[in-house]
């Protein structure tokens, strides 16, 4: 009995793993151009993911990581970014915060995204004193995602701001035409400050402020 396409599709992953009826699957592949294309595509995707190689581990990382593990009091820098590199590579929206968050809105900034092209928008917050457990909330316009957070329209994090410069790094992607605002709200105690980021899309594949 000849296998139907729907059966082939449902067993495709098993077949990729060598767990399906080989003869039946191969017989179907020989007679069905569409399923054969699907199979080739699945193989190509698997091969592409396998070929993704991480950047080489920093030569000193192993030594430092072992040292920090065996001497827990050793310095443990985390989540760092190079100011020069970060600012050169991205859109940067500088925002100064006072000693305390004042009520009211910051000036509107704008950014142009190309559709389906991820762009990291970086905002620098200057804080004149450390703020512990500040809450950062984002409200995203339709068609805009923070990469890695799926279709969630509202995101919120609790974070500590250090005295001086703090970098908010948002990998954004537009999935369609956008002409709207992203709202970023930073709250600490009774104070709240809202930042508005105008987002527009262009077909030219360029981005800028």
């Amino acid at each position: 009995m000849i296998m139907e396409c729907i059966d082939f599709t449902s067993r495709l992953d098993d077949y990729l793993d060598g767990q399906a009826d080989e003869r039946g699957m191969q017989a179907h592949l020989r007679g069905c151009a569409e399923c054969s294309r699907q199979y080739q595509h699945a193989l190509a995707v698997q091969a592409a993911v396998r070929k993704l190689a991480p950047p080489e581990v920093h030569p000193a990382f192993g030594d430092q990581a072992i040292l920090r593990a065996t001497r827990p009091n050793a310095a443990h820098p985390r989540r760092r970014a190079v100011l020069g590199v970060a600012l050169a590579a991205s859109l940067v929206l500088g925002v100064a915060l006072g000693a305390y968050l004042s009520m009211g809105d910051a000036p509107v900034q704008s950014v142009v995204l190309a559709v389906e092209k991820p762009e990291t928008v970086r905002m620098v917050f200057n804080s004149s004193k450390p703020l512990r457990a500040a809450t950062l909330s984002l409200a995203l316009p339709d068609n805009v995602e923070v990469v890695g957070y799926g279709s969630r329209r509202e995101l919120s994090w609790q974070t500590d701001l250090r005295e001086g410069q703090n970098l908010l790094q948002l990998p954004l992607i537009a999935h369609g035409t956008v002409k709207d605002e992203l709202l970023a709200r930073l709250s600490h105690g009774a104070g709240t400050k809202t930042f508005r980021l105008k987002i527009e899309t262009s077909n030219a594949g360029t981005s800028g402020m």
Partner: protein, 194 residues
């Protein structure tokens, strides 16, 4: 006759933490990068794992197959850290010094011309972006099964998760990747590069 301990290692007891871990650092870093998709997050994850492992050095001496055991510890640390806190995107700025490399900026060089390099770079960006759009557990199963080659049976034992759950997680992850990486020109490009 002395009792047989099938999982008891024959490693000499004088091996220390560094002797055990150093040969595994690169492997664990690679796996952590595949889980997290970023160099800085991979380094942080691995550092957290090493901090937890150091007090367990004696236990590690008795592990026969250390690599899968370490992969399991790394996986659990990764999933726990994702569950416990939605990571804040606010980073600490450091003026100068070593910094985070965005994997999207890191493209292997080749002997091809700039056009081919640009095409390869764009393709790599698309694949990385697609992988980043999987949820953390989907990324982990793709990394451990499709890339590192652990079978579902091995993973079911390692991760103490029913095989059916892993199978459906893998199925959804692959479906999502295929949807995010459509047939053309992706497949054609891949075929050219084989």
């Amino acid at each position: 006759m002395p009792p047989v301990f099938p999982y008891r290692s024959t490693r000499p007891a004088e091996l220390n933490f560094e002797d055990l871990i150093r040969p595994q650092v690169e492997y664990l870093y690679r796996l952590a990068w595949r889980f997290t998709g970023s160099v800085a997050d991979a380094e942080d994850l691995l550092q957290d794992v090493l901090l937890k492992l150091y007090p367990r050095t004696q236990e590690m001496l008795a592990i026969q197959k250390l690599r899968p055991w370490l992969a399991k510890v790394l996986y659990h640390q990764y999933v726990d850290s994702v569950r416990q806190r939605a990571r804040s995107p606010i980073l600490e700025l450091v003026a100068g010094g070593d910094g985070e490399e965005d994997p999207l900026d890191n493209v292997p060089s080749s002997r091809d011309g700039p056009e081919q390099d640009a095409e390869r770079s764009a393709l790599r960006d698309r694949i990385l972006l697609a992988v980043r759009q999987l949820n953390p557990e989907q990324r982990a199963i793709v990394a451990m099964h499709d890339v590192e080659g652990y079978s579902l049976e091995e993973l079911a034992k390692m991760l103490e998760t029913p095989i059916g759950t892993l199978k459906s997680r893998l199925h959804r992850a692959r479906q999502r990747l295929r949807a995010l990486l459509p047939m053309e020109p992706f497949s054609a490009d891949e075929r050219v590069n084989r």
